[in-house]
């Protein structure tokens, strides 16, 4: 199944842009990544998430949130904190996190 680009409510809302490259360590990665998407979707203010990793190794995950406060709360969620720590120690060779405010949006839906 091809995932479709997330549909989100009209702006303004917030986005977390997470770019990363992986280490060769796979243990626990896929399972945790899936669990974090499932868990994020249960948090207050969650609006959606898009994720892609190319064969060359660069990954981009963008999650959408109602407010910066919702993003801060998610960052501090207990199970998510443990996943962040494993990410830094084991799975990512480099990453960047950018917190942004979406001002305008348009597109061609399915």
């Amino acid at each position: 199944m091809v995932p479709t680009p997330s549909q989100t409510p009209p702006p303004p809302y917030c986005a977390v842009i997470f770019t990363s490259t992986r280490t060769p360590v796979d243990a626990g990665y896929e399972e945790t990544a899936r669990r974090m998407v499932e868990l994020a979707a249960q948090q207050p203010g969650f609006l959606g998430v898009d994720s892609a990793r190319s064969e060359s190794g660069l990954g981009i995950t963008v999650s959408y949130w109602r407010s910066e406060d919702d993003i801060r709360a998610w960052k501090r969620q207990e199970e998510h904190l443990a996943a962040q720590q494993s990410g830094k120690s084991n799975w990512y060779s480099a990453y960047q996190v950018r917190i942004a405010r979406v001002e305008r949006a348009y597109g061609m839906p399915f």
Copy 2:
């Protein structure tokens, strides 16, 4: 070669988050995608670009810009306008464009 996540100057700056799914039409796509990255990098205010497409078909490209005016100028660039038209007509089955202002950023560089 594994591309590394883009390094950008300290915020604030702007980002264009482009998510898409592709049609089966490949003619001209890779060449145009490469050319657009090359051309974007020559535009005033360009700060960087990250791009990934997963095997499942979802693509995410995030480009970073000094200002919204720089983004507007790039959107109107002549060769880019033609590429946008081909994208809508031929290559994308769905897409979303989000224009955002990056407020905070942090990470673990190489």
